[in-house]
Amino acid sequence: MAEGKHYPNKLGIAGWAFRGRWGVDRYLYTLHRITGLGLLLYFLIHIIVTTSRAFGPEAWAQWMDMFAHSWIGYGEYLVFLAFAFHAFNGVRLVILELFGGVGKPIEPIYPYKTSLNTQRPLMVIIILIIVVVVLVGSYDFFVHTKPLFQ
């Protein structure tokens, strides 16, 4: 073991987001975390708000009016975006981590192909699905504009 004064050298949270030439998968991981936290925050509030339905139509309307005439309605769009990304990327992660999506071990011959190459088709398909879902949902939110959002 080397004794003496050592200088600490950790990347910290910057190491989650940006530090050098990284692959796409690392950014997917960071985005998965951010959307997860956003969804959790919305969800905890959502439980309290929707509980009001047990107290009758007046309580319900009170909450809905609060959201209808404010920017919070647009927050729901962000929640939808976060869900679209988090859910489908989550499916990709379950396939990779539990169902062998990383591929079988091989004998490594240079230039090396890793599990990142093996899962690339899955990643592209998932991202395309996310884009389609977001487009359809955006149409519903903004074109089929509900009077609630005025």
Binding site: F43, I47, A87, G137, H144
Partner: protein, 123 residues
């Protein structure tokens, strides 16, 4: 072994949420286009009569409770994971565990009560 157990259920809860929350999103945001859930009528999903119609349907009440359990576990375990990766000590980790159990159980009780109580609303 405990971490294996929690993580395995975290994954399973994720799949459950994918299905049920997907359904929830379809109902609340996509039904205007899809018109699949005609039991709600063609009007907006969050208007009172539709809310009551769903609240009193056993399928919806049951799946709301399942979704609540799965989402609370999945979300809070995910947040706990993020916090545990920030170089906290064992004491802080145990505190976070207890805190999240308390928050999770309280919200679970609140939400389940609301789901059951709203089955008895008179329109």
């Amino acid at each position: 072994m405990r971490e294996t157990k929690w993580w395995a259920w975290h994954m399973i809860a994720g799949i459950v949420i994918f299905v049920l929350l997907g359904l929830h999103m379809l109902i609340t945001h996509f039904d205007d286009i899809l018109g699949w859930f005609n039991v709600l009528g063609p009007s907006h999903a969050i208007e009172w009569q539709n809310v009551v119609a769903r609240a009193q349907d056993v399928f919806f009440a049951a799946t709301y409770i399942i979704l609540l359990v799965a989402a609370l576990f999945h979300g809070l375990y995910g947040a706990r994971t993020i916090i545990c990766e920030m170089n906290i000590g064992v004491g802080v980790r145990k505190f976070v565990d207890v805190l999240f159990w308390l928050v999770g159980l309280s919200l679970l009780i609140v939400g389940t009560w609301a789901a059951i109580a709203s089955m008895a609303i008179k329109v």
